[in-house]
């Protein structure tokens, strides 16, 4: 199963205003791996994800997903492989009802009507939101919106799941529900978050970014226990670990 590998070779990205958000990132994510990306605010996490989701093209270096190298004409192909869950659910859910929103992707993939209906149903069932089908997104709670946002992406049957701060604005129960949901997915997962407990729970591997560079890359269990490293990156030990140390 070599076709779902995500590979970055010395990727750099500069915004038009001159900000060098990514300054040479190299890593490789294998099929089925789940990787957490952590780092302080403004260190390039979101920019990196936007590069992976083919929304931004690297200024230099190479991003390849599967056997496809990211370039202007392969964008569509890459977007088809990558499911992107954005940080703000109101940006992600743009159709007037939940059903239409989830159906948007599959329709654009050119599936038949029955196939679309099937996909929508199974995606909404997966996140436990089938009963919300006919509701308009502005009448949902943040937790429901997040679940539906994930369904919109799952309905496209992506190989790779990219999420930007999936647990932001969620109450503890919704957050727990989300974590269990993510654990159940067999996809390759790339999750950027400040919620280190979530990363510890869901991701086997963790990458820490500072000023557009990778400063640590390894098993979450090791990296998220390294107090000194975390502190240098404006992070803290995951809460669950703090607890263990104290008692």
């Amino acid at each position: 199963m070599s076709h779902h590998i995500v590979e970055l070779k010395d990727v750099r990205f500069r915004y038009p205003d001159g900000t060098e958000a990514i300054q040479g990132i190299t890593f490789k994510i294998l099929h089925g791996e789940s990787v957490g990306i952590a780092g302080a605010n403004g260190m390039g996490k979101t920019t990196l994800l936007l590069n992976l989701g083919a929304h931004l093209l690297p200024t230099s270096g190479e991003v390849s997903i599967g056997e496809v190298t990211l370039a202007k004409r392969t964008r569509q192909e890459i977007r088809r492989k990558v499911g992107f869950v954005f940080q703000r659910t109101d940006d992600q859910l743009f159709m007037p009802t939940v059903y239409e929103d989830v159906a948007f992707g599959p329709i654009n993939l050119g599936l038949t009507e029955e196939k679309v209906a099937e996909r929508v149903k199974s995606a909404l069932e997966m996140v436990g939101c089938l009963h919300l089908s006919n509701r308009p997104p502005h009448r949902l709670s943040e937790g429901q919106k997040r679940a539906v946002a994930i369904a919109t992406v799952m309905a496209m049957d992506p190989d790779i799941l990219i999420m930007d701060e999936p647990a932001s604005n969620l109450d503890p129960k919704s957050r727990r529900h989300l974590i269990n949901l993510l654990k159940g997915f067999v996809h390759t997962k790339i999750i950027a978050s400040h919620d280190l407990d979530l990363i510890l729970d869901v991701c086997k591997r963790c990458i820490i970014i500072r000023e557009g560079r990778v400063v640590a890359d390894g098993p979450s269990e090791e990296i998220l226990m390294d107090e000194k490293l975390l502190e240098e990156n404006s992070l803290e030990l995951p809460l669950s670990r703090q607890h263990n140390n104290k008692f």
Partner: protein, 269 residues
Amino acid sequence: MSFDLEFFNIGYLDTLSYKDTFVHRIDPRIKIIVSFIFILFVVSFQKYEVSALMPFFLYPVFLLTAGNIPLKAIAKKIVFVSPFAVFIGIFNPLLDTGVILSPFGIPVSGGWLSFISIIMKFVLTVSTALLLIAVTSFPGICEALERLKLPKVFVIQLLFLYRYLFVLLEESLRMIRARDARSFGKRGKEMKTFIRLISVLLIRSVERAERIFCAMLSRGFRGEIKVLRRHTINAYDILFLIISVTMFYLFRSFHIVNIIGETVGRSFR
């Protein structure tokens, strides 16, 4: 804090449209067509007509009761926009002073009649339009417009308007609250801050539009949005169409109020 209240008010009409009653279930296309024909009939009366307009109140009253819509919600909105109609007709009683009829010996000038007629036509048409929104979900109306062959660009604009109206309102609400929290008395509430607030809102909207576009692209958007078709016209819908349009036609061609008056008068004689 009137802005807060206004915000929840808009949401209220939307909440009503998700009820499930007989009128809510009628195909939106039929409702739009019937309401449109209704409005045409109402405005077709000549300017001194008052009593012949009365029977037309049956239609909005029907939507109101069958749709289980609270009268207050609609009445408040009508009052809110009424100045427009009032100012159109307010000078008629002054300009047109010829006495046209004098019931019970009280002389009534043509100006007053045409003024009342304008107000009645206004109440009829605006209440029907508001009730149409209140008994049909907005996506339903968009679907109907698309199937009635309105250009798709407009329909999609409307859909996005509906989706982001609430998001934008909430955003402005938060900004206004944040301003109020740090402004005291009149300071901080000047036009100058308001202009800045608006410009920030504009910039945020542009940025949001970019993010939404990203989200659309990542789900394979290539310039086509499909509007979901949920409704089918059934026998009840056709029946509703036929009955209501026939009623409107009868109201238009026969002076129902006169007929009732004459029959009642005759029976007393």
